[in-house]
Symmetry: C2
Subunit: 275 residues, 2 copies
DNA sequence: CAAATAGTGTCTCTAAGACAATATCAC
DNA sequence: GTGATATTGTCTTAGAGACACTATTTG
């Protein structure tokens, strides 16, 4: 039957209204922060890339980087392209956290957005990101329970502090959704996107295999622990952590050196053999 | 500054090309199947709703129900509407499993689709679903590892058996993605959508809170166990299962009766107190 | 040697799995 | 009583958390 060919040639998508589609990136960075004392270890922190809006709408507010889906690319390719443009670093992996499609989420018109989480390790020093005229900046992230069951998102960068309040409403199938109670200085519905991103990142960061992607090939167990602690915002006993992670890593014969204390053995991720 | 108002009035979304957006529903049903013997319990099975395509393209193939996103609605509302239209049952909860956006996934043009999983319990007897002229049918689901690391999806409904082969390629952030090795008689990229749906459903079905949504208000512990076993395709020891679930349920003073064996106590889900 | 981190040993407690045994109904 | 499922009890083992202790480097 060659009807099919004819059918497709004559097929017309019609002039139904169609939305513009974008990909927004919730780009996290794990940064080590030096603390004066030469022998004290750097502390690992989680920070988030935001861009200050110069134009309308939400002029002067801070927004997630993102951009429009072009014909011929997948939404993942679009997200990858945008993330790379903004951070000058190719993300190792992207996790979709859903399509945000409230009809009025963007005052400019019908624009729906698929949001992605990307995490880059402290290794991938993004020198060129956030440097252009100060309109892109990395914010320290704090996301904690607040009053009456709300969650408070605090983003700080030097003098600037953004504070948003969201509420976790449904947790269908283990994936939380949030509604905005106070957007603060965050543009659009980005407060709820960030909240969902953090919630998704935290639940996946319990899996060591996920964490490995945020570290260089060789790492110390303390570094590994710091990364997990920074993301989950928890604190663990080194002894217990080491036992837990033992099955996922293998030793190398290299050590760190130069710090003012006992050197640490470097490990690498243990790859499962192909069955 | 009332520039913003002016700006928005003059804003033009431009004539960039935009995709059509659809929601596809991976609608599962938990059905009990009688087995002749009056005293033997019914067995719980997982089945999936598919629709036989009458028109081009993929004429004669089986496809997931779905439909276009309309202006003024969210993608969740769209999914809910489509699911209700097809199954005559309002789904209790929907889980998004991602946006499928391969440019050539639909031969008719640039059509991207957000897929959702929906599960209805054996309670919500969908009498009217799958009855219209036999072009919608519930298929028994089997999804198991096959040769060289592939996964085999077998869907059967009476005489009809569909068989697709997929391969789990990346598992970034714990969420698997699949590529199609053999679509069988499944239309479009629906084989990979179904695979991802099953994989997502299985990982969330380890959580009892999720399972409760698939059962009536009052249930026996064996029913609860059967549902989890049907979804995860596993088999557990009743004694161990009961201990595990004990903290999530509370007793009622009602019992089942009429079966050819010892009656079972009915339980209900234990709701957490509001803190 | 002192400061700081790296790494080990051991105890307890909990949860999961295996398996055996008892309870109760419809016919 | 018989066949079927419901329900309980116990043993073992694996893993997480708490905590105290030892090891090694640089200045």
């Amino acid at each position: 039957m060659s009807d099919e060919k004819t059918f497709l040639q004559q097929y017309d998508q019609g002039d139904y209204e169609r939305p513009s589609v974008t990909a927004d990136i919730v780009a996290f960075k794990l940064s080590g922060e030096d603390s004066g004392n030469y022998r004290r270890n750097v502390q690992t922190k989680l920070s988030l890339l935001l861009i200050k809006r110069n134009g309308h709408p939400y002029r002067g507010c801070w927004a997630l980087p993102g951009g429009f889906l072009n014909p011929g690319e997948t939404i993942e390719q679009c997200a990858l392209r945008e993330a790379e443009e903004e951070t000058a670093v190719k993300p190792v992996s992207l996790m979709s956290i859903g399509l945000f499609s409230e009809p009025n989420r963007d005052p400019r018109g019908w624009i729906i957005s698929n949001a992605f989480v990307s995490v880059m390790g402290a290794v991938d020093v993004p020198q060129h990101a956030g440097d252009d005229a100060g309109d892109a900046q990395w914010f320290d992230v704090l996301f904690e329970p607040g009053e009456n069951g709300d969650d408070v998102l605090t983003l700080s960068c030097g003098e600037i502090t953004l504070r948003a309040v969201v509420h976790e409403d449904s947790s269908a199938f283990g994936m939380s959704s949030f509604s905005i109670k106070d957007s603060g200085q965050l543009a659009f519905d980005h407060a709820k996107i960030i909240a969902k991103a953090l919630s998704a990142l935290r639940s996946s960061a319990r899996d060591f295999e996920v964490i490995f992607d945020f570290l260089p090939e060789k790492f110390t167990l303390t570094e590994l622990q710091n990364v997990q602690e920074a993301i989950l915002n928890i604190s663990l006993q080194p002894a217990n952590f080491r036992r837990k992670v033992a099955g996922y890593v293998e030793e190398t014969d290299e050590y760190t050196s130069g710090a003012g204390h006992r050197p640490a053995k470097l490990y690498k991720r243990k790859r499962e053999e192909v069955r």
